[in-house]
Symmetry: C2
Subunit: 211 residues, 2 copies
């Protein structure tokens, strides 16, 4: 049966299933054959909807970013808006950790990612920051959010405690980090976020409000 009367595929269905495979089994598990199989279809059929596999990854990545809330810009004061946005951004990425390496490359031309960049930059300009500062603040926040989701600290160490014993005197408990994963990475994120925003408020009072 070369072709059914109703199309089996759509860009949306493909992206949904691709995202599920990436979430459950990792980026490496997403092959065109595997994706097609889960859609009850053969691999080449995907090319009727996307030009390359890269395009599918782009779409899946943008779906992750599209879930980031930006409604706090405007109603809220900029420091609190920035804090809430960063938390939501991190949470959205943390929900799809296997996708983060791909997203880390930057917004490129993905619409949701550009909408995000535009919102933050615009909010900082509205608050009175110069273009130069707004750019650097946006970049700094991006560094921090991506860093915190890309290489979750607690997962970077190996489970085997004997891997570290002796040679690295201070890492004797490193293998236990995994057990406190969210406490460690969540705590580190909040520590850094609070520190950054407090510092920016201080800078704001010195440079923007020079009253």
């Amino acid at each position: 049966m070369p072709r059914p009367s109703q199309p089996l595929l759509s860009r949306q269905r493909i992206v949904e299933v691709a995202l599920r495979i990436i979430d459950e089994e990792g980026l490496a598990a997403l092959s065109t054959r595997r994706l097609a199989a889960d859609l009850h279809v053969r691999a080449p059929s995907l090319y009727n909807h996307f030009a390359t596999k890269e395009e599918i990854l782009d779409a899946a990545g943008d779906a992750v970013i599209a879930a980031v809330d930006i409604s706090m810009f405007g109603p809220r004061e900029w420091p609190e808006a920035l804090r809430q946005w960063a938390r939501g951004y991190r949470a959205a990425l943390a929900r799809h950790p296997n996708n983060v390496p791909f997203l880390a490359g930057g917004p490129a031309l993905r619409p949701a990612a550009l909408r995000l960049a535009d919102a933050v930059y615009g909010a900082l300009l509205d608050a009175g920051w110069s273009r130069s500062y707004a750019t650097r603040i946006g970049a700094t926040m991006r560094y921090f959010v991506f860093g915190s989701t890309l290489g979750p600290f607690a997962l970077g160490f190996v489970v085997d405690p004997f891997g570290y014993a002796g040679r690295y005197p201070h890492l004797t408990d490193a293998h236990r980090l995994r057990q406190h994963r969210e406490q460690v990475d969540g705590g580190a994120f909040e520590l850094g976020l609070g520190t950054l925003i407090d510092g920016l408020v201080r800078l704001y009072d010195q440079t923007v409000v020079k009253s």
Copy 2:
């Protein structure tokens, strides 16, 4: 010629050439065949020196981390040591940007990466920070350094100015970011680094030195 009198390969030569290929043409360009060709050898020969391609990547990654200076811990006060270490860390990663995605996964069992983690954690403990804070500070610094090299902000936008015009009102100049690449990313890094360390000093005075 099945076997030359002098071995053509060594782990070190393989790592050197692999690193060069990754630097010049990207992670994706490193295939076993390509690597072997540059070494004037066939791909399977590599397996006499490394069990898998992953092992080659591990070794190349660790060579990058091995270049990070940690001699400032000890002689220097912790805030200044932390600042210098972060700058050196970022610089070492920036010298091999195509390797950063791989390194972002964490130290695992790579010796140089573990030595680094051990040094920072130990220095923070020596300064009087609690284990809990030392862990979170190390993680925060790691987030920031990796975020800043992994997705260089200025390279995340596309060159074509028409890609953004109209739809994203504040991004009209985003395509120009690439021209000021080092200014933008270097400025954002210094802004965030200074803010983080100032904040940590303040926290230190409140929690550790509670005089």
